[in-house]
Structures are given as structure tokens and as C-alpha cells.
Amino acid sequence: MQETLQKDSVTQYSKDDFSSDQEVRWCPGCGDYSILAQTKKVLPELGIPREKIVFVSGIGCSSRFPYYVNSYGIHSIHGRAPAIASGIKLTNPELKVFLVTGDGDGLSIGGNHLIHLCRRNIDITVLLFNNRIYGLTKGQYSPTSEKGKITKSSPYGALENPFNPIKMAIAAGATFVARSIDREPKHLAETIAEAAKHKGTSFVEIYQNCNIFNDGAFEQLTGKEKKDHIVIMEEDKPYIFGTNNDQVIDWRDNHFYREKLDSSKSYINHTPNKKRDAIEFALAELSDNPELPTPIGIFKRTNEETYDGLLTKQVSDVKEKLGNGDLNKLLFSGNTWEIK
């Protein structure tokens, strides 16, 4: 698709060309602003004409996103964005389709559609804004809220284990899986750009602060000591981190361990571009473990046939085999007889 689009003489867009005429109506201070800004920064870099971009969302604060981007867009119903997005992409594979969703929209009511999208590997870029809360409905716990969390709907503490969205995306078969943070604008922009360029279902979990109902959910990862709690995964490099860049995580005895960096030793390198996912799965587990840093960056990126690609091919194969559909043939097929 990328090729086709680049053939068009794409105007050199600026960030502002992607601002719609709608007033942005998130709470002041909401992390969604940063994600919007970075996305609008990335869009001109893709070299895709504005009219060939479609943003699809569900319902939630995050899902208001399409209103603010000057492209085609669909603000759909709660949890169902993957269905609509799939229909759009399969109908017109020339379009670049983004899907914006929240931890409630994408993992609670919409969980099934999302994993089926990943499984099918339709060429759609998913941005999941994870603020670990239902924002729009004013603060109930979500499938990514921590156990014990006290919210409007859990006055005595939530009893559920949270989902790890990265694990789910990997298990379901997404071919590009990454994580970033609203407060790391540069990393965020790069990650969105990489995801957007990937062919196949690309899934990006974005940690996002809801300063009204779940302020500070990612405090550790965005505060002063954040460098001790984040490890940025870079291809073919070991997992080094820490305020003084002196920590590393390494894979031993089938687990990741944290240790002090010893420059004389060699460590496992990050290699996201392969088909088997056990190590990626172990990386995904790190964020569940308070002792270990949370990885951000690209967990997995593999090149596989897309559903949309296969469908296009199937259509042309069948046309080649059976000839272009013709109404006469359609109507007069089967056993016919004439009455005079």
C-alpha cells in the first residue's frame, strides 16, 4: 500500500494540516493531548495523502480522538472499532487505517474484536490509550486497573487481576507489538511512526495519565526516578537502564533478572524481529513485576501476510480462474430451461 500511496504527489503537510476544526475537549492536563500532538506530528512523515487516512475509534475519552484529526474518521460505538476498521480496510486497502481505543473500550467490551483483529493480521494500526480507568464514565476500575483499587464501582477494592495488553496482543498474533508513554513525546512519536509503517496489525499500548480519575497511575515511569523503572528496548542492544545507565536485565535460567551492569560481560540482546514469541512474552511479563523495570519500545515485529493482502489476492486469483463476474452468467447459471 505504501508504494501506491507514495506515487501520488503528496503535498508536504505540516502538523497543523491534520488539525480539524473541532475544539479539543479533554480535561486540561489529560495525557491524551500529548498523544494527539505526537500523532499529528507523525502523520506528515508518512507521506500519505490526508484523504487516504481514516481514524476509527470506539467510545471513551480516548475515542474522541478522530474528531480532532483532519482526516476521514469514525467515532463508533463502545468496543466495536475493530469491526468497523476491518470493514473499511478490506473494502479499500488503499486507505491507511488507524484505530484509537482505551483500556475499557479495547480490553473490556471490545476485547474479543481486538484479539481477532490481531489474529487476522489486518493492516491496521491500533493505538490503545491505557489510563487504567474508565475516564468518560467518571472513574470505574478497568481491566488494567490494579487489584485492590478503590474506585466508584469498587469502594472496598477491586478483586480482579489486570490484563497485560502486550501479552494479549502477542498471544493473539499481532505482528507488531509496542509500548510507549504519553510523557515520553519523542519515544511516543517514533513508536507511532514505526507502528504506522508496519504492514499488518500493529498494536501500541500507550500509558496515559488521567489526571482526573487516576492521577499518577504511571508516576514511577514518568517521575524523577523514571530511569530506574523503565527500560527502553532497542534492537540488537542489551537491556540497559537506570539513572546512571548502570543496570541491565538479562535472561538466565529461563527468566529475566536485574543486575548491575558489568561491561566485561555479555548480555542477551533485544531481537524483536522473529516469529517465536516466548522471550517477548517474558519481556511483557516484566511490567507485572514490581522488582523489574517496565520495558518500553517494540516487543515484536515480524513480517507476515496480511488478511487484506490475501483477500485482494484471492479476489484476483478467482477472477483469473473464473473470469470477471458478469451479470448474465450470474443470473443464468445452474439448470435453466426455456418456456416458449
Binding site: 478522530p66 470493514g87 474479543n112 477472477k319 473470469g323 463476474g325 443470473l331
Partner: protein, 615 residues
């Protein structure tokens, strides 16, 4: 097998109904299909109905495992597969037991005598062998050892015993062909193509067919064959078609006539699955089918496809349609074209999945939150599904609206001859898209239809966003304004009423005043047509109005509905259309309802007529 040449009688008949019945494994559907093709090519009018057991593959010989295929054919018009049958071909005791009550007095029974073993009799709950206990007195029984005769016929072939036995349905078919003076060539040709790669099967099946025919012709058992003359039907090229096939072809035709791709978002469910199956074969017609993870994703993908410029379609049955309710409301709000097909089955809930019913009408008209009007159109017969589907698609596209197309299990699986229209005579469906001028207003309307003027992704300058929050008139921006909401709610309703400018009202059959007006809809068409003919034959008067669009209501109905002493509304539900009729026209219409998972019989309707008139 000793064969004598005997001179046999031949009798003319106007109309015959045959029921083939046996185990699911007995090839009943195949025999029925062959008889149908042969009969169609012979030039009779006909109508057919397969009748599957609810279980996938019930144990052989059981009552609930009986599979049936019914065909009515005639030298005059045929409207239904027939209420009762003249001939029952029963391949085992269970098939006899299950079907006997629908056989006419003095009707013909052909049984496979070999299958009446003690074991099979027990499985069929027979205490005694009905072939021996005189319980079949009053019928013309032909007990033929079909299994052993078939084995004998094939004794020289290389087939295994099991394979030989599987040919016995052709032997039985051969008997039927002789009895109704049908030629064998259509089926012989079919056998040749079907088993092309297995010459021994071609030989065996052909032998069995010929042997059955020969047996009937030569033995003294069968004394009379029947002749049913060609029907005087409209000239043209015909094919036999089921309702679900006709829907598929109708929609593909509509998409082609609109110059669009067709996109079906589906999820299997009885009795709608065949729409997904048939549709998926037409990739070369720019038909994309998407088997979604559930019904919600199915309609969602179809709606996304509509947004991107395809004709979005989704098909399901009761429980699946219920799941689509929320998305239907969204389609109303976004005013995107969409065809939603409901092949109704017995309800509520999972109900009777393989049976027919008309009980989803009020759900179709009202089953959404908020004021969410959706046009509803109902197909009346298998072949008519083509027109209904075409019209549903046309209205969806012309009025940028979801349309609900109602069919049901009876016409979805039933078949009848369809006079194929000349594709060149089918008018195009012209759609007006907005110009690419950077000033696009997604909720600007065509003043005639009140439809939105759409613009597809890919159109530079017309970038816009749709959504489910209330829209500001014209601009389409989100609006919480009170007066705008009232306006939009009324606009959406008014748009649906405008559909009457593009579709024509049904024509009243009969006088425009009198004693009784029957109002009906959907698949009861054929039965009621039969009944109306009978009532008139009996010298009574009746008028009949069969509705196509239930929403909006047809304008001409109000012109005569008050001119009758009685208004009778027969439905296979507890009274749904009648609620709408009474409310709209304040006429004291009376219901006639039977909710047995089965089509009405002609007699049911005639009785209802007499009971309402007190005659």
C-alpha cells in the same frame, strides 16, 4: 428379478405433491433435487421444500433423524410445496411414521420393504409392522424391496456392499420417474458430470435409476402412471431457486447495477448461513465476505465497508439480529446504507432453529433504543427474494439508511422456478456523491429523498467524521442542542416516510369493498393465494392485500381498509403486523395465528375466513 411386460393405465392429473423421506444418509435431498430439475425442465410449475432434522446426523432409523423433501408440481400455477401429499416415498419405518399424517386419504405409499426390520420398527416406535397389521388400509401401498433389488441390479459391479446400498435412492427415483412419466435423461446427465472422476459410480447409479424405472414399468405391482401436462407459465428462461440463493443473486445484481463492491459481514446461523456460503463463492463478482467473530462484528464490518464505498450487507436470524440492535441504531445515526437480512426462525431465544416463523416483525420495526426508524421489507416467496433483496439494496443506497429485509426458514430453503430477468432491463442504481470542494457538509440532504449526500474516504477535501452522538443538522458536528435534537429526530423519521416516493404500493387483489379483507405479509403469500382462490372457487368473495414494505406503510391501504366488514390478518406469530394496522388505521382487524414452527396450510386460512364471516 423376473420382469413381465404389461400394459398399464395412464391418468391425467393437474397437480401432484410428492414427499421423499428417509434417513439423513439416504440421499433424500439429492433425489428430491433431481426430481425437481427433471420436472422443471419438463415444464411444470412447481414449488419445493426440504425439511432437515435438527440434529446434524441423527442415528440411523430414528424418528428425529428423518429427512424429507417435498415437491408440488402442476400444469397450472403452484404457490406452495403443498399442504398434504399425494405420494409418500418412505425409505424406512421412521420416515413412514413421521409423514403419514400428512398423506391424503387413499394416497400412494411407496416403501422400501427391506428397511422394515425388527430393529428399525423398534427405533420408529412401531409395536407391529405397519405393512402387515392393516393399519395402512385406506392408502395404496407399494412395498418394494428396494435394497435387495438394487443389490441385485449391481451384482456385477465392483462396488462394495455399502456403496451399492447407497445407490438405492436412484432406484426409488426411477420408480417415481416412471410413475409420473418423467424422462430420465436430465438425471443421467447429472450423474455423469457429478461422478466424472469415478466411472464405476456413474455406471452403478445409472443402472439403479434405469432398474427402478424398468421395475415399475414391467412388474405388475404398479398399474397406473400419471401425466401432468406442461404448465402455461410466462415464456422466458427459468431456473429453480431457493430464497437464500435469490437473496444473494439479488444483492450482487444490485451492487453491480450501482457500480459497487459488495461486502458481506457474516456469522453462521441457521437458517441464514447459506447466504454466507453462496455469497463467498462470488469473489470474481467483487464480492468480499468476511466471516466475523460474532454478529456484532459482522454488522460493524459491513457498516465500515459502506463507509468506504461498498454495499454493506449482513445476514442472520433472530438471536443474531438481536445482537445487532445497538449497531442498527448507530447505522440510523450515521445514515449509512446497509442491508440487514433476517431469516426468521422459531423463537423466542434459540427456540426452534430449523423451523419457520414470522415473529421478528415488531423487533424489526421497533427493536432499538431511541427513535431509530428503519425501513422494513418482506419477501414473499423463494424467487421473490431476488426482487426484495434488490429493492432493499436500492432503498438503502438511495436513502442512506439501513434496511431490514425479512425472509424466513420456509422460503429460505424452499425453492420454485424463477423466470430470470434480462440483466440489461434492470435499471441502474445511481448514487450521488458529494463533489470534492473542501466545503463538504456530511449532513446536507438531497431535498427529494432527505438522504445524506455521501463522500467516500479517498476524496480529497471532503475529510469528515461520523459518529453516534447527535449530529447538528447539515454540518454533522456533535450537537447537544435541544431544538436541533428534536429536529433531527423528526428528519430521520421523515426520511423513511419518503421511501414511498420510490416504491409502489401493492395492488389490492379483489374488490375494494366487501365482506372480508385479508391483509398479510411475507412467506404466507403462497398459502394465502391458494386459499383466496379456493374461497372464490366456492363462490365467496374476499379481497386480499399482501404487504411488501411494512415500514413505511403503503399509502394506498388507507383508501380501502375501512370498506370491509371484516379485516383478517393471518400471521405465524401471536399478532404483530395487526398491532401496527390497528394502531395506524383504527380498524378492528382480527388476527389469525398459529405458532407451530410451520407454514399455514391452505385449509387453516380457509377456516379462518369462514370463522370470521360466520359462514
Amino acid at each position: 428379478m423376473t420382469v413381465k411386460n404389461t400394459v398399464k393405465a395412464s391418468e391425467k392429473k393437474q397437480r401432484i405433491t410428492i414427499r421423499f423421506a428417509g434417513d439423513s444418509g439416504d440421499g433424500i435431498q439429492l433425489s428430491g433435487g433431481q426430481f425437481t430439475n427433471t420436472t422443471a425442465l419438463f415444464g411444470n410449475d412447481l414449488s419445493t421444500l426440504p425439511d432437515f432434522p435438527a440434529e446434524i446426523r441423527a442415528p440411523a432409523g430414528t424418528l428425529f433423524g428423518v429427512s424429507g423433501f417435498q415437491i408440488q408440481f402442476s400444469s397450472t400455477d403452484v404457490h406452495t410445496p403443498g399442504d398434504e401429499f399425494d405420494v409418500l416415498i418412505a425409505m424406512n419405518p421412521a420416515a413412514l411414521k413421521v409423514n403419514l399424517k400428512q398423506l391424503k386419504q387413499n394416497g400412494i405409499i411407496i416403501v422400501n420393504k427391506d428397511a422394515f426390520s425388527v430393529r428399525n420398527l423398534k427405533l420408529a416406535d412401531y409395536d407391529q409392522n405397519p405393512l402387515e397389521d392393516r393399519s395402512l388400509d385406506g392408502y395404496q401401498v407399494f412395498d418394494v424391496p428396494i435394497t435387495s433389488l438394487t443389490r441385485e441390479t449391481l451384482v456385477d459391479t465392483s462396488l462394495s456392499a455399502k456403496e451399492k446400498d447407497r445407490c438405492k435412492n436412484f432406484f426409488a427415483l426411477g420408480i417415481a420417474y416412471w410413475m409420473f412419466t418423467r424422462p430420465l435423461d436430465t438425471t443421467l446427465r447429472w450423474i455423469e458430470t457429478k461422478f466424472k472422476s469415478k466411472p464405476d459410480l456413474v455406471e452403478a447409479n445409472s443402472l439403479a435409476l434405469n432398474a427402478g424405472y424398468g421395475y415399475a414399468l414391467s412388474t405388475e405391482i404398479f398399474t397406473t402412471s400419471y401425466h401432468i401436462e406442461q404448465a402455461k407459465v410466462e415464456p422466458g428462461i427459468y431456473r429453480n431457486i431457493t430464497g437464500n440463493e435469490a437473496i444473494v443473486i439479488g444483492l450482487i445484481t444490485a451492487a453491480k447495477k450501482a457500480g459497487m463492491e459488495l461486502f458481506l459481514g457474516g456469522y453462521p446461523i441457521t437458517p441464514a448461513s447459506d447466504i454466507l456460503h453462496y455469497m463467498s463463492r462470488y469473489r470474481n463478482y467483487d464480492v468480499k465476505t468476511f466471516q466475523a467473530e460474532d454478529e456484532i462484528a459482522g454488522i460493524g464490518a459491513a457498516l465500515g465497508a459502506s463507509f468506504a464505498g461498498a454495499l454493506g450487507v449482513t445476514a442472520s436470524s433472530g438471536p443474531g439480529i438481536a445482537l445487532k440492535s445497538e449497531f442498527l441504531g448507530y447505522a440510523v445515526m450515521t445514515e449509512l446504507p446497509l442491508v440487514v437480512i433476517n431469516i426468521q426462525r422459531g423463537g423466542p431465544s434459540t427456540g426452534l432453529p430449523t423451523k419457520t416463523e414470522q415473529s421478528d416483525l415488531l423487533q424489526a420495526v421497533y427493536g432499538r433504543n431511541g427513535e431509530a426508524p428503519i425501513p422494513v421489507v418482506a419477501a414473499q416467496s423463494p424467487a421473490d427474494c431476488f426482487n426484495a433483496a434488490f429493492e432493499a439494496a436500492k432503498i438503502a443506497l438511495k436513502f442512506t439508511t439501513p434496511v431490514l429485509l425479512l425472509s424466513d426458514g420456509y422460503i429460505a430453503n424452499g425453492a420454485e422456478p424463477w423466470r430470470i430477468p434480462d440483466p440489461d432491463n434492470i435499471p441502474e442504481i445511481k448514487i450521488q456523491y458529494a463533489e470534492s470542494n473542501g466545503e463538504y457538509k456530511p449532513y446536507l440532504r438531497n431535498p427529494d429523498t432527505l438522504s445524506r449526500i455521501m463522500s467516500l474516504p479517498g476524496t480529497a477535501g471532503n475529510e469528515h467524521r461520523l459518529g453516534g452522538l447527535e449530529k447538528e443538522d447539515i454540518s454533522g458536528n456533535v450537537s447537544y442542542d435541544a431544538d436541533n435534537h428534536d429536529k433531527m429526530v423528526r428528519l430521520r423519521a421523515e426520511k423513511i416516510s419518503k421511501i414511498n416516493t420510490l416504491v409502489s404500493s401493492p395492488v389490492l387483489d379483489g374488490e375494494s369493498k366487501g365482506d372480508v379483507l385479508i391483509i398479510s405479509w411475507g412467506s404466507t403469500f403462497g398459502t394465502i393465494k391458494n386459499a383466496v382462490e379456493k374461497i372464490r372457487e366456492n363462490g365467496n368473495s374476499v379481497s386480499w392485500y399482501h404487504m411488501r414494505w411494512i415500514n413505511p406503510l403503503p399509502p394506498n391501504l388507507s383508501e380501502f381498509i375501512h370498506n370491509f366488514k371484516h379485516v383478517l390478518v393471518p400471521e405465524i406469530n401471536l399478532g404483530q403486523l395487526i398491532k401496527i394496522i390497528r394502531s395506524e388505521y383504527l380498524v378492528d382487524a382480527k388476527p389469525f395465528n398459529l405458532v407451530r414452527g410451520l407454514p399455514f396450510s391452505t385449509r387453516d386460512i380457509i377456516n379462518a375466513y369462514y370463522s370470521i364471516t360466520g359462514k
